[in-house]
Symmetry: C2
């Protein structure tokens, strides 16, 4: 698998409801050749990412398993009018077909 | 280590600010014989748990590493006036001395 096509299986979770990302994960796994997808989120969206993965695994793609969960920190540029950069927590959930 | 003393190293993350839980994690690792602690959270507190672990690891206990992150789902009793039980996402972050 080329770098490009593997990158297309990254789902970035933001401020939409969990079901939007459930659909994205289900779609990522819909091709039978797709073996892996990664769900990424930061800040408050971390909970949404976990919700989306759990709903997908329990209700939609039962053969999907959580292969690895990595947490980390990203430095973000300062908000307008502030001088300090901010640290924001991140999560990366790697999913596989069991 | 007996089951009892190992259970005492579980930190339950709730609705307080992350720094409250940072202090709890730092305290859990303050005994030099302490090798492991687990941070648990569910729902919206998942982000707070990740924040607390990341702040602790980066600023206070640099020899601490994230050993394992497990996500899951817990069934909760229905809210008053509702009939369906609710599913809530959970996280368990196991921390070790490196």
């Amino acid at each position: 698998m080329s770098k490009k096509s593997s990158e297309s299986n990254i789902i970035y979770v933001g401020r939409k409801p969990p079901m939007d990302y459930v659909l994205a994960i289900v779609t990522a796994f819909s091709g039978s050749e797709v073996k892996e997808a990664t769900v990424k989120a930061r800040g408050r969206a971390i909970t949404t990412a976990v919700d989306a993965v759990e709903i997908t695994r329990r209700k939609f793609v039962k053969e999907m398993i959580v292969d690895k969960v990595v947490i980390g920190t990203e430095e973000m540029p300062p908000r307008e009018g502030e001088s300090n950069s901010r640290n924001i927590s991140t999560i990366e959930i790697t999913l596989k077909r069991s």
